[in-house]
Subunit: 153 residues, 2 copies
DNA sequence: AGCGCTCTTTTGAGTGACTCAAAAGATCAC
DNA sequence: GTGATCTTTTGAGTCACTCAAAAGAGCGCT
């Protein structure tokens, strides 16, 4: 029932290409994150638990760390988030919108090339490598809920 | 020796205006953060300790939390940072550059109004409130150090 | 297919930022 | 000054994450 953009065979190849061994935990984590982007380590653990009950929390931390190091995963740090999040969509430097009410997170494509994001007004002499942009807002559902609550009040 | 942009009397007024009581801990934290922007709660504690040895870590957390809630402080969450940082420069929605090597943090003014920062390509229906932009790069000092090390190697 | 080196996972313990709650203390309106 | 209320302190606890050593699995090789 899952809609995986990357079949398992592809993950196997990419793991090997990165010099990493193919393990059940790594494949399960990649599958899960491909289907559930922006998940925390704890959510990955919970998500793969039915299929891989023996996988430990420590292993999930090892896995997301190692896969991020070789570029198979990307780590996303959002404000007001206690835990780091991970996704399989890497190397496109896309950004994120987050609803301040319900926490819903969505991707935002970066205007690549002529990037306003990559041209700060003052760089303090720093050579800029990348820009992490997090938009904070209110999603339609939460806005509607807020409106309804206001009308009753 | 400190170069405070806000004299103590001004902080007293702003605390009162916000409905908060004027306490030694709050004034000390505001003074320190005015002089040392982007400090963590632990750094604030260490910084005010000489003048206020009795102030507890818990109090510093209470203080930065409460002052952020009323807008006297702004909380800054940066990637790869274990602790939240705080600053007195609020309500101008400025951004930050961070050196990935030494961690040095500098302010970057936002191009207010015609903000590329505030106009994501896809909003997923969300009403955008603000954009948090963190530029990651290498500062001149770290770049020079890296170059020197490469020449020796 | 089986062996064995090496990498990975598990197990166990620990750190550090932050939170919650109740008691002691300070602020400020009166 | 006095008292109600807000703050700070004290004490304990949570949670993400880290470190390290032992157990286990992957895979190159024969
Ligand atoms: Mn994403
Ligand atoms: Mn700043
Ligand atoms: Zn929402
Ligand atoms: Zn630097």
């Amino acid at each position: 029932m899952s809609t995986l953009t990357q079949p398992r065979a592809a993950w196997r190849d990419r793991l090997r290409a990165a010099g990493l061994r193919v393990t059940a935990g790594r494949l399960a984590a990649l599958d899960y994150l491909d289907d559930h982007p922006h998940s925390t380590a704890a959510e990955v653990l919970e998500g793969v638990a039915p299929a891989l009950p023996s996988l430990s929390a420590q292993s999930v931390h090892n896995i997301v760390h190692d896969l991020t190091a070789v570029g198979l995963l990307r780590r996303v740090d959002l404000p007001d988030s206690d835990a780091a999040r991970y996704e399989t969509r890497t190397h496109d430097n896309h950004h994120h919108v987050q609803c301040v009410v319900c926490g819903r997170i969505e991707d935002v494509d970066c205007v690549v090339g002529h990037a306003p994001c990559l041209t700060p007004s003052q760089t303090h002499g720093m050579r800029i490598l990348e820009a992490a942009v997090t938009f904070r807002g209110i999603c339609p559902e939460c806005e509607a809920r807020t409106r309804d609550a206001a009308q009753e009040g």
